[in-house]
Subunit: 463 residues, 4 copies
């Protein structure tokens, strides 16, 4: 088939060029956005009397047929059509005849691709946002029910202080909340209509970009056409937002993997979301969190790919930019299925409370409390209290006991200023509930945090 | 010197460990933030009667002395102090005695570092924001004066349509505006106080994080301590914002390099910002834009570094996170000096209007106008008009003329429907000014875009 | 269908898990390697009398049928089979019955995937190597014919010294030669058989890995099984080699884009490998080099993806590693089609010698020669000669001449020590041919370099 | 001070340019290489009678003085000198007068920097190689002594099969061996002299690059000067080699962190290489492996930085390339200190054999052996044997026993074909030692692997 731009060329394109150059194999993903944009454009052309109302209707009818054809898998994609825009336009001309050729008035492929891809990005951002919120709800439900279940809070993967499991999950809720906000800000920042910029300089037709903007749900048209056709900030923004969200997921996954190990046994992943080994019949593997963790790599890669592509490109459109889409599609699909399965894994997770609580008795988790006791009750400066407690821990280890198991006599051997009431401070449950400052792990304060997130979710749903 | 945490250790740290582990060599950058945080903390401790008012004052006096010492370069940094927090605390104890040991009550290094680093990030974001705005102003001033200077608008580095130079610069203003907005959103998203989270679980002291938050200029305290001590989203956010901004700068730099070449000669970089060759005496090199373009690499690298560090880290604090700071410091410094010098380069740039305008006569820039003429005046569908124009271009090339130089007879040889008025459309100035739709390159419309950005700037300055 | 590992599970896998977990959609790419590995394994099992000779033959016959089925597109891939290994094994059992179940003796999926993927990597490396060599040959042919065609040698995109076009192309040949050597070294470094490592610890069967190694064309078996099943260095090695090669290609592409611009017009890309614009009928766009440049982004991204995946993984196999393949497949396909089309673009490139030579007269390209003359004939230290020449250039610019166009009188006005013979040095052709030291641009020396590469190629072909 | 290239400039450089442009603050790192290169160059100039023997000697004497000055910290670095080459040359002229100006004959800063940086890279590669070998020796010594200590071999962080600790360490030795080989190949691939290429085109002087090559220890001069001055493959090669090596280190670090946790307690890091907490007195944190793991991020970042810088750069030298050095310096320093401290951490590591062996009794580690027994002794196809064993594991879990603790009666309840000798197969030590195929974990085979590496080391030391 002759290319739509073939006028000045003496030779046809080689088929190798078609194969190398065509984006149709991946940008067909954008057919809905492309057709929606074309319909809005056809309406505008009629409204502005650039084409006739009847022509517009015919074009729109044709476009709607094409959408149905693609929806049903009946549309024949031919790589020689180069891209989804050309493929649809060619089919339109087949369907509605000469009038179809008028659709491309007052626009260019450059602003068409900018429109389609931006619509896809904004829509995907909204869908990911919904999935994040669903995950937050699932986590919040589990958290609310586990604010009294003690688990060793860790730093450096070493037992540090007793916290509750609900409090632990709230950390991930906090991360996902930021992810939602990061998506909100990118949606707002990029919610501008690219269509109508034509090749790079705007169009001499009396087109109405404000109309197009409303029709397609944007805030307003972009300000400068040269920027618009070469802008891919919106794609970078979503690639970054997905990277950070996947990084958060990778951290939760790491913990799920650790917690599923024989060494921890804090949780049991449901059989539905675990797999076995082809050679070792006893194995039950946490494949899902492992893959979630691994998939962080691919979304990071997609981010760095597009950053690399955009570096140093002169204005305006360059063909390099065609490399923008596959990575975004891949990252979007990756996070969507990741959030979908993560929600299920969490919802069906068995929490082994006894194992968590048993683990709290290892590692002198109430050591800070002894130090705090020394400060508050014996007026010893913190730094010195810290030192004394360090000695008490060394003493307990020598005795093969946990610090919380030392009796008063033993404690006084370490420092004679320690009094009976210190024993109370050393109890794990007291240690946890003592941390009731804002943001702390005391059960009461953790429940307050749950309430905070519930209200935030309600605010979202109203808004 | 004995470590502040040495109580339970039987052996001292090796000096190799000190060298490997210490962050003091780079985190001393944070001394102002650290002292500001400590002063606020001391005030809070007194307000909450955790320490005495007099003790608080003594501590604050000591901290202020230390600030002066560091400001003046009199402070002695000892790598054995590990980090800036320890270095300042040790010196505080030297200066004010035992009472200094009380400062570390109800906080931990984990939340101190989280505070200092977040303050640094927020402050830096604001400073970069100011510099971006200054660059926008500089560009806007040049743009406003050059809305009638024609330059070939390019796609694929091929002459495409005539635009004006002001319009071209407005593309970069649009990019920098998004960069400002990206910074705004990260400031808002991360404007929460980390201090008071202690190691990971909050503190048993009656501390007042709302007071601290106000004192240090935050919106409110963070919600969940476990998240807070391990959250580095704010650092990733600034690394990404800087990456995108440097990518924009790299594009402008690429154009400055091209435009400075013998082939283009569109602009002349001021001697103050160009360099020579050690071997070729005739050379004048655009080192500044080349370096700006090259520095994109380092800020991308810093982003991927921290993303890599954070991947798969279990909660809460892990020492890996210490690797967060150098990259951020480097990216912040890089963009600051880049924006500083870019502004000067642009402000002193000589614009060679004649060369720009001469270049417009190459490449049949008004070809689209012939096509548009055929559509609008001869009612030929765009796709066909495009094809006819392609033939006209081929014809012109054969005659070694620009399309705009063909006379009516020649045009009619290509297609007999072409009439005299087509000649008018083919004039370059008319071609440019025809594109007066919103966002277009017509001088009038470009001036409107300038106004738009001026009002936006005014809105910022009021706000 | 029941999973092959389902024995200990109470519940079947969810279909969401199947979708998330399965690698079949991409690892089917490895079917040839998988079948080759299985055939070798079946032979070994018989040779070692682990299975009967007749069983082995039956299995091999089945495997060969499966290969034919897949080759012809008749094989039905079912995502529930998880991966290509399971899919083939299940089909094998269908085809040959119970005996098919014996094939998986003394091996595991872990070492199967390690084998298949390594074979793929080594084979791809060899194929890319061949393509690089073909590109070198094409470039060498062009270079050999253009050793007298002058082109401005540039630094900082500024004209620097006259060089010849052949010499310029030899720079890319040098790069591609290193790419060949980089592939050679990775092939050698990774040419070890993984099969026979089983899950991670070797196998209790009397298997003969040396036999397998020979059968499959490896140097010898890997040394340590635990390393082998978790080693992905070979994949990183090829991702890096491709990244560097694509970086080289991006540089050549950048030059092709510049050279195709109206400003340069040094080369004309054949119509077969250029495209037009949907809106601007006059455009001829260098899409191929632009895409080649852009595709650098994706191969960089694939590299960083796998580096990220591998970071911090404990031994041995983790499911994260499943993320290793898609990126490698993508990078391999990318460079293969890139090298294929690059070769054609270069072979059909029109070289506009007159434009190249005309450009040499701009930019005082023989300035260094004046400096060298001053050093050699007037015994002026180089640094001073450089300074004098700088003044001569400034003088020429003021007179709007090229330095080579100044007459003796004018030159002596700059410095009276300049004598008539200096005029000879300033001639461009003399300037170029003066640089005849090893590696230099003199035509004679360039031809010697061509010879060098020809001999290197011959050495390769013999070897 | 006036720049050495200032001849044609009307205005001096701004101090902001100096600050932005100068590389002196980091490239002073290269002073030794720069002086070595200059001394060789001075010798060559004399040998070729381009300067007098006496002049050469005077220059060399000056250069040696400068080296002493810098070694002793007496040299005054002035940022206005731009880079280390200019700084040294200026000082040379101060020290030896006019004759110093002759040194820069027949070379350029472009090939000077190419030389210095390549020398640095090759030398660093050799030093890292030595450190890797030292780490291999340390690991090999530990491995040799621990070939009978059982530890659970893991996949998916789940207990899989019993292996020995020596065998586990041999996996890391295998990785480091590949790292050594990767360095070897980059040294060989880049061992070519850049000096003498001048700016980009070679030099008209009768210089002897073969002499320079021998003098400076290279294999031979590079082939094409244009390539040479813009080639940074050698820098990418070392950045990649370091990235892979740090990735390996990050995996060992991850395991050290896991093994140091309360949950595992497989190893105890020496107090000399662990740190405490400022708030939790009982903590002993594995800071060193955490930092090692974290530092992987920075070396990945450095790699992606330079790849980004190099993408799409036209030939030959561009100032962007100045961004090449800091990342390489940083990665080299990072891996050097990492390997230094890793060696110490491993050499002083306490191995808690009892804990390792106790852990082997968890997770039915001999399940595969039951399956293998069923295959070998009962002629059951592997796939079916796998299924039966899965059921046996489920049975054992129900009984809260390890599979190895089931008695014959219980086993026969699962499958009546199981005979008494199966009990022997289920013993852990037998399970481990059964895996005696090449590369397997049997003690005897592990010792053979130790021998293999010892011989390889000896081969290296002789060679």
């Amino acid at each position: 088939m002759q290319k739509l731009w073939a006028g000045r060329f003496q030779e046809g394109a080689s088929s190798l060029l078609d194969e190398f150059n065509a984006s149709l194999l991946f940008d067909r993903e954008l057919y809905k956005e492309d057709i929606a944009g074309s319909i809005a454009h056809a309406k505008m052309l009629a409204k502005q009397e650039i084409i006739k109302e009847s022509e517009s209707k015919e074009i729109i009818r044709g476009l709607e047929s094409i959408k149905t054809e693609i929806d049903c898998g009946e549309f024949i994609f031919d790589i020689a059509d180069e891209d989804i825009h050309m493929a649809i336009e060619k089919r339109l001309i087949e369907l509605v005849g000469e009038v179809g050729k008028k659709l491309h008035t007052a626009r260019s492929r450059n602003d068409q691709v900018a429109l389609d891809f931006r619509l896809y990005t904004l829509n995907s951002s909204k869908e990911i946002r919904v999935q994040l919120i669903e995950n937050i709800k699932t986590l919040l439900e589990i958290a609310s029910k586990n604010c009294e279940v003690m688990i060793p809070g860790m730093t450096h993967l070493q037992h540090a202080q007793p916290i509750n499991f609900g409090f632990h999950l709230l950390a991930y809720i906090s991360m996902f909340k930021r992810d939602v906000e990061r998506l909100d800000s990118l949606i707002e920042r990029n919610n501008y209509l690219p269509l109508g910029c034509a090749a790079l300089a705007g169009t001499p037709y009396n087109s109405d970009r404000d109309f197009l903007s409303k029709e397609l749900g944007f805030k307003e048209p972009t300000i400068n056409c040269l920027d618009t056709v070469s802008d891919r900030d919106f794609a970078l923004d979503i690639l970054f937002a997905i990277s950070v969200a996947m990084m958060h997921i990778s951290r939760l996954s790491e913990e799920l993997i650790l917690w599923s190990s024989y060494e921890f046994r804090f949780v049991t992943i449901d059989d539905k979301y675990a797999t076995g080994s082809s050679i070792m019949p006893q194995k039950k593997n946490p494949d899902v969190p492992e893959l979630l963790r691994g998939k962080t790599g691919r979304v990071y890669g997609n981010l760095i790919s597009l950053l690399t592509v955009m570096k140093g490109l002169p204005l305006a459109y360059n063909k390099d930019t065609q490399e923008d889409k596959e990575g975004v599609f891949d990252s979007v699909k990756t996070i969507k299925i990741s959030l979908k399965i993560l929600k299920e894994v969490m919802a069906t997770l068995r929490i082994n409370k006894e194992n968590m609580e048993r683990a709290c008795k290892i590692g002198h988790l109430s050591a800070t409390d002894l130090a705090d006791y020394l400060v508050q009750k014996c007026s010893i400066p913190f730094r010195e209290a810290h030192f004394i407690t360090g000695k008490a821990v060394a003493y307990a280890e020598k005795k093969e006991k946990d610090l919380s198991e030392l009796d008063l006599e033993e404690l006084q051997e370490v420092d004679s200023r320690i009094k009976k009431e210190a024993l109370e401070s050393l109890k794990l449950i007291n240690s946890m509930n003592a941390r009731d400052s804002k943001g702390g792990t005391a059960t009461k304060e953790t429940l307050r945090q749950c309430e905070y997130f519930k209200r935030w979710l309600e605010g979202l749903e109203v808004g």
